[in-house]
């Protein structure tokens, strides 16, 4: 009986010590099934949207540009679109630290988005509200820094 009691104390003790020693104390990581695709159809399927940073790798804390490419589902470039930009960190409940804007139509359905900045590491959303002759539609991209 005494032996069992000792075992119990020892097991609880070891479990507690292990919990202290090995606990991972990070904030919630981004969901593992997060869709990180840089090309996807818009929500209503009106556009096929691709995004890429204009100057290579995105660095935390640096103001940078993205290029958004718009096509119809059958692959034709969409010209004359207006794109509004929003976004933020879903796990932190805050928006983007800057107010990015579409500043140029580059032709062949390509548009420049200026003024994007990610001031923290983690899961960010970039949301685009697209308005063009084909109709209004939205698309959300996930990024993990």
């Amino acid at each position: 009986m005494i032996s069992n009691w000792r075992y119990l104390v020892a097991i609880i003790g070891i479990a507690a010590i292990a919990a202290i020693a090995f606990s991972k104390m990070h904030m919630a990581p981004p969901p593992s099934e997060l869709d990180l695709a840089r090309s996807k159809p818009s929500e209503k399927g009106i556009y096929a949207v691709s995004i890429d940073p204009e100057a290579g790798e995105v660095k935390q804390g640096e103001l940078h540009n993205w290029i958004v490419a718009l096509k119809t589902p059958d692959g034709k470039a969409v010209d004359g679109a207006k794109i509004a930009v929003d976004g933020g960190m879903p796990q932190h409940g805050h928006g983007l630290p800057t107010a990015p804007q579409m500043t140029g139509e580059l032709g062949e359905g390509r548009y420049r988005i200026e003024g994007v900045k990610f001031n923290m590491g983690g899961w960010w959303e970039l949301k685009f509200a697209i308005s063009a002759p084909q109709g209004d539609d939205n698309v959300v991209f996930n990024l993990v820094l």
Binding site: S3, R6, Y7, A10, G13, I14, I17, A18, I20, A21, F22, K24, M25, H26, M27, Q60, G61, L63, H92, H94, G95, L96, P97, T98, A99, P100, Q101, E114, G115, K117, N119, M120, G121, G122
Partner: protein, 402 residues
């Protein structure tokens, strides 16, 4: 006998467990990456300042150093930039509110690597180091000067050095001794009576003084700390030695900082700041006017004639992204203040934008309690940490101050 063996084996297991608890586990690869991201070694070279074509001119920096320590640029002849930005005190003054001719509403900020901040002051009401440096010169509680006073001073005492860098000074002989758009009523009236050409000529001289001071301030940088020596060893797979070997408590604090306590969310990168503005529920100071932080500052920086897009900036508009794409409205701006660097912070209480919190331990207590903001909404959520964890966080913060 069997029972004795069982007891012994349990004791061995418990002892091993205790040893594990005392000796923190090795840093994981992810943790090493985070540690490397915080090291001064990860800081890229100082980028050029497109708004200031004199920013990297040694003669301008030397002239700026003179101006930084020049007391005669103040209306009472005893205040210089160095009155509050003290050379031997991390270029700050240890006071809750800066004191020069009068007492201001804000804590003096330290200057190490200040040239890397996209927005200056606690609320970011200026968008370049030179535009910042001009502000105290004509603030009644700081230098208390005005634009023609500054120009006349340069003409009388430092004309040669000025002209070698910036070219000929304009003819100031017909201009009032004291005139400026932000001074007292007499100074404002005198400024209004000057011609547009005269005002612009004086503004040009005035802006060049800021550009020289900024050129000097670009040379004020962070020095490596114990943490950086630790991080640099860990990054290359070496065992940190000497003072680079952080104690178990300091490493525990580092893990809390980057993990459970999540300080790194805002205090990130080699300067331990995201250069952004946050409402963290810092209490208002009784007796001071209402302070809305970033909410007020965005309007001020937009209307500043010395901003990146203004006539005295050397930048093309394309280089003014921080100003052009600044968030200008929204509830998140109310009582939001800049994330300060934590480098050296352990050695410079009191803390926060008006020195509201006296000790580092109390800062941690503030983030644990996460009180509501006097106005706007605090981004901070309450944290549950033990006394041991608080002490470990303080211990870690000292490693980026030693």
């Amino acid at each position: 006998m069997r029972r004795l063996l069982s007891s012994v084996s349990i004791a061995v297991i418990v002892a091993a467990g205790l040893l594990t608890a005392c000796k923190p586990p090795e840093l994981t690869e992810a943790e090493k990456k985070t540690v490397a991201s915080l090291s001064l070694s990860a800081l890229p070279p100082l980028p050029p300042d497109p708004t200031n074509k004199y920013a990297d001119l040694p003669a301008a920096a030397a002239f700026g150093a003179t101006l930084f320590f020049e007391q005669r640029m103040s209306i009472d002849g005893v205040v210089s930039c160095a009155t509050c930005h003290q050379l031997d005190r991390q270029f700050q003054d240890d006071l809750p509110l800066a004191k020069a001719i009068g007492t201001t509403d804000r804590r003096t900020m330290p200057l190490a690597d200040v040239a890397r901040s996209p927005f200056l002051f606690w609320d970011g009401r200026r968008d370049s180091l030179w535009a910042q440096a001009l502000t105290p010169l004509e603030e009644p509680r700081e230098h208390g000067g005005n634009r023609t006073f500054s120009a006349h001073f340069i003409k009388a005492h430092l004309a040669d050095r000025y002209e070698r860098i910036f070219g000929p000074l304009p003819d100031l002989s017909a201009l009032p001794a004291n005139a400026g758009p932000l001074g007292n009523d007499a100074e404002k009236a005198a400024w209004a009576e000057m011609s547009e050409d005269q005002r612009q000529a004086v503004n040009r001289v005035f802006s060049n003084l800021g550009k020289a001071i900024a050129a000097f301030e670009r040379s004020i940088v962070h020095e490596k700390t114990r943490f950086d020596r630790f991080a640099d060893a860990v990054t290359v797979g070496k065992t940190p030695e000497g003072d680079a070997a952080l104690s178990d408590e300091e490493i525990y604090g580092l893990r809390l900082f980057t993990g459970k306590a999540n300080c790194i969310e805002c205090h990130n990168g080699p300067r331990f700041t995201d250069d952004h503005f946050h409402n963290t529920g810092i209490p208002a100071v009784a007796g001071l006017p209402e302070d809305l932080g970033r909410e007020t500052a965005v309007k001020q920086v937009q209307s500043d004639p010395f901003n990146c897009l203004g006539a005295f900036s050397d930048a093309r508009p394309e280089a003014c992204g921080e100003l052009r794409f600044m968030v200008t409205s929204g509830p998140q701006l109310t009582r939001a203040y800049k994330t300060p660097s934590l480098r050296g912070a352990a050695g410079r209480p009191p803390y926060m934008h008006a020195g509201q919190i006296k000790r580092l331990e109390d800062v941690i207590d503030h983030y644990v309690r996460a009180p509501a903001s006097p106005s706007g909404k605090s981004e901070v959520v309450p944290l549950s940490i033990s006394e041991r964890e608080r002490a470990a966080l303080v211990a870690f913060l000292k490693t980026i101050s030693d």
